[in-house]
Symmetry: C2
Subunit: 636 residues, 2 copies
Amino acid sequence: MNQDYIKADHWSIIEEGFDVNQVKSSESLFSIGNGAMGQRANFEETYSGPTFQGNYIAGVYYPDKTRVGWWKNGYPEYFAKVLNAPNWIGIHVTINEEVLDLFKCKKVENFRRELNMKEGWLSRSFKATLQNSIQIQVDSKRFLSLDFDEVGAIQYQITPLNNDAQINFSPYLDNGITNEDSNWDDKFWDVLSVDHQDHQAFIVSRTMKTHFNVCTAMQSHVSLNGDVLNQDKTVFDTSSFVEFQYQNHVNKGDTITLTKFGGYITDRNHDKNELISVAKETLNKVSDLGFHALLELQKTAWSKIWDRADITISGDVKAQQGIRFNIFQLNQTYLGTDARLNIGPKGFTGEKYGGSTYWDTEAYCIPFYLATKNQQVARNLLAYRYHHLDKAIENAEKLGFKNGAALYPMVTMNGEECHNEWEITFEEIHRNGAIAFAIYNYHRFTSDYSYITEKGLEVLIGIARFWHQRATFSEAKKQYVILGVTGPNEYENNVNNNFYTNYIAKWCINYAAKNIDIIEKDYSSDFTRIMNKVKLSKEEVSQWKAVADHMYFPFSEEKKVYLQQDGFLDKELITVKHLGKSQRPINQKWSWDRILRSPYIKQADTLQGFYFFEDDFTMEELERHFDLKMILLRKN
Amino acid sequence: MNQDYIKADHWSIIEEGFDVNQVKSSESLFSIGNGAMGQRANFEETYSGPTFQGNYIAGVYYPDKTRVGWWKNGYPEYFAKVLNAPNWIGIHVTINEEVLDLFKCKKVENFRRELNMKEGWLSRSFKATLQNSIQIQVDSKRFLSLDFDEVGAIQYQITPLNNDAQINFSPYLDNGITNEDSNWDDKFWDVLSVDHQDHQAFIVSRTMKTHFNVCTAMQSHVSLNGDVLNQDKTVFDTSSFVEFQYQNHVNKGDTITLTKFGGYITDRNHDKNELISVAKETLNKVSDLGFHALLELQKTAWSKIWDRADITISGDVKAQQGIRFNIFQLNQTYLGTDARLNIGPKGFTGEKYGGSTYWDTEAYCIPFYLATKNQQVARNLLAYRYHHLDKAIENAEKLGFKNGAALYPMVTMNGEECHNEWEITFEEIHRNGAIAFAIYNYHRFTSDYSYITEKGLEVLIGIARFWHQRATFSEAKKQYVILGVTGPNEYENNVNNNFYTNYIAKWCINYAAKNIDIIEKDYSSDFTRIMNKVKLSKEEVSQWKAVADHMYFPFSEEKKVYLQQDGFLDKELITVKHLGKSQRPINQKWSWDRILRSPYIKQADTLQGFYFFEDDFTMEELERHFDLKMILLRKN
């Protein structure tokens, strides 16, 4: 999807003009989140064109049974995925009995969408001419509160422009939702109850298998030209749905407004028997404040985030918009207040990547959170992996490792591996290095050594044990080799002696050994406690060190460069410049074997690995690697 | 499943004693087939224990939409699979209104099953005591006729032993069947009609998507102590089922027999509007002959097969039984009379491997058929690939090859690739060599050159073009390399310069070039016709030859051995002897990365490749390779 239709702006993502082909793309781009929940920018009213409904609650997942072509021993039984959660944003709207549906209007004009990243809200406005020729102006605004992170608010306004009109609003809750990404077309939710009282409605439901209990709730009222109407409503409900129906006669030029508060109360944070009462209290609190006061709080909260996190770029508005979009999305996805949560690669923008945790958290996100938030946030991310250490040890045992060796999963929700492509799950093991390197980064940035004594060293030991066992001695080379890996360049599978992997293995062992020495010397009671727990001997550490000290790195004597992996120079070297546009992106144009045979410039990933090492690797060695890149770039 | 329960016997597969845990295994082992259809050894009567119903019609398949974890460009859209066909063998049996069901009897004694491979029939006998305390002796025999390959016959006999009994037989046809192996739980059959007339019944149904029309038919009668009864029957039918109900009062010691003929008439061989009338004729013909005469024909037909195909082994009954089981299964699966058919790896014993065509046909089966049948049979198997040449060229184009290069699929039903594991589909390309080598084998064995002039050369040219384009020039080695392959040892994925693959590539080019020369010299009109069709220039052939002449083969100077692939000697070398039993089979005990890192003795596959080359490879070179194996075996 070409996303060039977004207008350049310093602080906002803006779309102008209604195009049905952009709806799904914009639903992703204009997504909103508050760390605890998030949602795609679906329209509140009915939309019968192509759309992808999505609401997500952080930490509420489902272990979907996997489906593969040919099962391999060691594959995990399930792929955890974020669940599409009940819809609380929906509002059925009719104008003189015609359903408002942008896909079916005679005409849509002045359509404009704005995601205001500075203040944390999403708005939409348009002028629509319906099939019944009534012309209306619609203005909606919504946000997910940072201050009350279990709720969001919507203000939905309609002004009839060319005639008086009967405008009916039916705000609803809908638990009849499914995942687009479902392997066996299973149902994911059981509805336990559908209730309502006064202006509030509640659906309590439970996820299958994982048994998360969630109360989806809403409260609504209608105003005319700013004055709240105390009108009657009709309630319609089914076994998984409830709506309030408000009927309004609106004069031409008057503005009728539906205000709706809604969200999720879950048993991750509350007693499961008190979900409805907590929901009532929460809705009362935010509705007492009112939409505008809540929005002011939202602006203040985002302003505090930006004070520490903003990056300004002068002279290039699109770059400025782009970097702020990245910062905004990271903060929408994860705010660091809950050590049980982590950072899904796509945030709350859709189902792809299942909302699960990847090594990207340690490799790319922790440096960001270190620099822009209280150190407790990065510490929470580290603690997440500490809490999964036992599972990482189990995971390594499943693959034949022993003695407390830990292999962190490629993809996880609760510490168990969820990924099942052998070349990734079993072979992209450098991820384990990122977990250790994040501990190093945390200490380097904060100078807080307490994390390492309290939790970090156990993780470092589990990881060092893994590398020690994973490396094997080559009789031919008289050095330790690491065979059968996929490096950070995922387009080279099952290679031998990937430079990055071998180097991070060596580094992890040395870093663990160094910290064992420090803690033995300076924190003797911690040392005793940890050693009693992990049963580590001096002799074992010296075996690790033998591997680190005699690690093999592929090197070309002829070209005097380190190689990405064994045999790299046998490849046909093609630069991106010489790859016609018709060939790109190659993962959509080439078959996998062809991609694997030809190096190309996703190599940047590998370089990224090297940047981390600047402190530890001599510049001369680094330059040799860069030389290789230069050779690649110059060839042909 | 341990299959040691099978009794040793020179000519038969025999099971004695009833064990519910062996039922599914025996259903496979005792399968019967006649090249045109086949079936698992399911019981005719009701069985409510663990069972896997299976009937299969050669060439009737379904393109099931594939399901993979992460889609890769170049994957085929579907996996063709043999369909579970309507059941014609079923007979509901009641004894004094109690359903005969071996899973529910009070007692089962003297259970015996025999698959007589010499004569081509399956029998079963047992004494059962029902919950109602009636004791019966049951003897059944069935076979699929070689002479009339659209039908089979069943003789099902019951003798009440301790009392008179009301014994009802209800032979039926059932189209309400599904595939166990279905990716999307789709239905595979539409029923078009359910009919019956006199003693015959017919269900006409059509496969979805592929639209094969099949008439499943049966005819039955009952005899008492050998005399046919002309009794009344009741007909019961539904939209996908029809049965005849016969009620019999049988005195203690008398024997009541149901004789049933049935099978499939398909529009692969008949006009689709005449399926029922052909079925009537066919059933009339075999029922006029009668069960015993048809069985005598069966014995004669199998005896002719064994006259040419038998291998005798003295002094080892289990080995004798084993080799005859192999020969029997090959003949049950494929008889060479229909060039549209091929050899599914599991024959008609189940759904695994989808009944599709693999390179095993050329590598392993053609030599067998060459030696044991008229040469037309092997020629039919070669012609199968000639008819798929256009599809093999399309397949190569999908992977980026051009100019008529052909890559035969890993798995296919109609010439299109059906497999979707990148390391196999895209990389196990040595299969292409097997297609060419089979042509060489055919000519070597039969001295019939006409196949090469008529059809074979075009195939050889397509394959040579593939290898020419697939090899790349290594600037580092100054030789041609073949990167990113899976050799015949499927436990080494995405390796570089697999010896077998590089060698077969070189061989294919040389063999194609040699035959181009012969045909140019000795068959000039064929030469002109073929060259006009494939547009091949002398210059292109010399480019091929450059690749063949400068092909790289991995070699260890130190050990003076050829290596299976680049980097082979970096591995930890473990012999099977040193792998505890608890570790085997490693594909069920080890994770895939561990298998890939450790060589083990599936290496036999690779050796098998080498045997083929004895004529072309110097013995010295071969011995070097065997030396390597010895090193592996001696180590530790």
